[in-house]
Symmetry: C2
Subunit: 293 residues, 2 copies
């Protein structure tokens, strides 16, 4: 972990701590459960991308913090619901018991619902000083999180699991785009929007986010094959066990690695208009490509 | 059903049909499931209250439609999740199989998530022409739906079910306020806000909504005891079977009826500043008191 990432995680955690109701707020169970999952040691990739995108556009970190916290709440809610017995049925997440194991299924469903809801509450409470009004921020997050993207990807994943027919590359890319790339792209776009980004640079951030998101998911699939559960903090080897279609399963490890590297280069290229200010985003793409957990 | 209600339901249904993605939108399963629950014959109480509140404030129906559709999406999502096996475990809703019976638990969780998300997308896409900006609309809905209100009420309900210790009147009122009154109040307030309501009248709508919401929940509890499942379109007698604390259980039927009537009178009184324009809201309160399903 670089000092930069450590500092950013601290900043994001502080903001999240401020935005979430205290664990003693009535009813205590739900607020405890929300905080349990939010503070379970996430890498804070989405909020860090959001802040770095604001800076790449010449903005400050402060106006990007509501969006940074909101995307992390959405991400955490999606993990809680994905881990439920009726979905991926995972007991372990980031090395800790998942929400339904710790609090029971009912509270886990509600904790996810509450994090999804508070994401919009946080954004709605922010004041926009840029050309984009609060409605534009909310639309951005709602569309990326909705039935055509984040939720839609999970639907396809759920329908594909254990199915006899394996997906083709186009279908798999569609799932990855929906399930992972959409929220990563929204994170970069929201950061840019908080810094009053021009339409041309917003398009560049979109290309960056989408390429990075696809690379990220391919690497996730590779790590599921090559790493231990202990290292990942979640159940490894699960994709193969559930006959899930993945890049390594379709193309093999070597070709998958090449594709992730190609997408990372594409992300790097998209950053050209940002010049030196894009350095952090450039490094983040490298960091994600090289990670081993 | 009065001609007024029939016309309003038609209007709300048309708006919902427009805002929700078509059932053929990819992935089709989730959009089918969203529409299945939204168009399962709901009474549209919340959107009708929203539209009537806009008119009570001298506004038009059109600018209130996004909020009307949004509150119904929130209401429907909360029913889908409440009916899940890990929550109230209900197979029947409005006389039809519940979402998880029809589509499986995984899709039911995701359909609820998607309706919650689209509620904010609908509101964010609206243009506010009143003194309240879109952020104010989103905050209103997010707070009423969040962990301190709608979701919080379900948490308390879940924790109370089958518990040995029955609740006292204060605790029960708190659950009713959270679970039912908060969203009904938000429905009236959002309608008023779309019509550029003054702060004084917004406070009056709040008193109306809160009183109406409490009366509504008491009547719901009474109907659970006195009506058949067939009439209600959901499992009757369930509260007693699950040892749920209710007004009739705590105070008996007669006292419960008196309390519902008292709250309805309080709702009526709150409407005085609206004069003749408040007639529809007045009638709606009567209608809810006298209903038998």
């Amino acid at each position: 972990m670089t000092p930069y990432l450590t500092e950013r995680i601290r900043l994001v955690d502080k903001a999240l701590g401020r935005y979430l109701p205290s664990a003693r707020t009535r009813p205590a169970t739900i607020h405890e459960a929300m905080r349990y999952s939010v503070f379970a040691g996430g890498k804070r990739l989405r909020p860090i991308l959001c802040l770095a995108s604001a800076e790449a556009c010449g903005g400050e970190v402060e106006p990007a913090l509501p969006a940074a916290a909101a995307v992390e709440c959405i991400h955490t809610y999606s993990l809680i619901h994905d881990d439920l017995p009726c979905m991926d049925d995972d007991d372990l997440r980031r090395g800790m018991p998942t929400s339904h194991v710790k609090y029971g299924e009912g509270i886990a469903v509600l904790a996810g619902d509450a994090l999804l809801t508070i994401a919009f509450e946080i954004l709605a409470g922010a004041k926009s000083t840029s050309r984009y009004d609060i409605g534009a921020f909310i639309s951005e997050l709602a569309v990326a999180s909705g039935s055509r993207h984040l939720i839609g990807g999970q639907v396809l994943d759920l329908e594909g699991e254990g199915s006899e027919v394996s997906l083709n590359a186009t279908q798999l890319r569609y799932i990855h785009e929906s399930k992972t790339a959409a929220l990563l792209t929204a994170s970069t776009r929201l950061g840019g929007m908080s810094a009053n980004v021009t339409p041309a640079r917003l398009a560049a951030l979109t290309t960056y986010g989408k390429s990075l998101g696809l690379a990220f998911q391919i690497i996730d699939d590779i790590l599921d094959v090559t790493q231990t559960s202990e290292k990942l903090g979640k159940s490894a080897g699960k994709d193969e066990a559930t006959a899930k279609s993945t890049y390594p399963a379709l193309f093999g490890l070597e070709k998958s690695r090449q594709e992730a590297a190609r997408l990372t280069r594409k992300a790097h290229e998209a950053l050209k208009p940002f010049g030196k200010k894009g350095t952090r985003l450039h490094e983040l793409a490298d960091h994600l490509l090289d990670r081993d957990y």
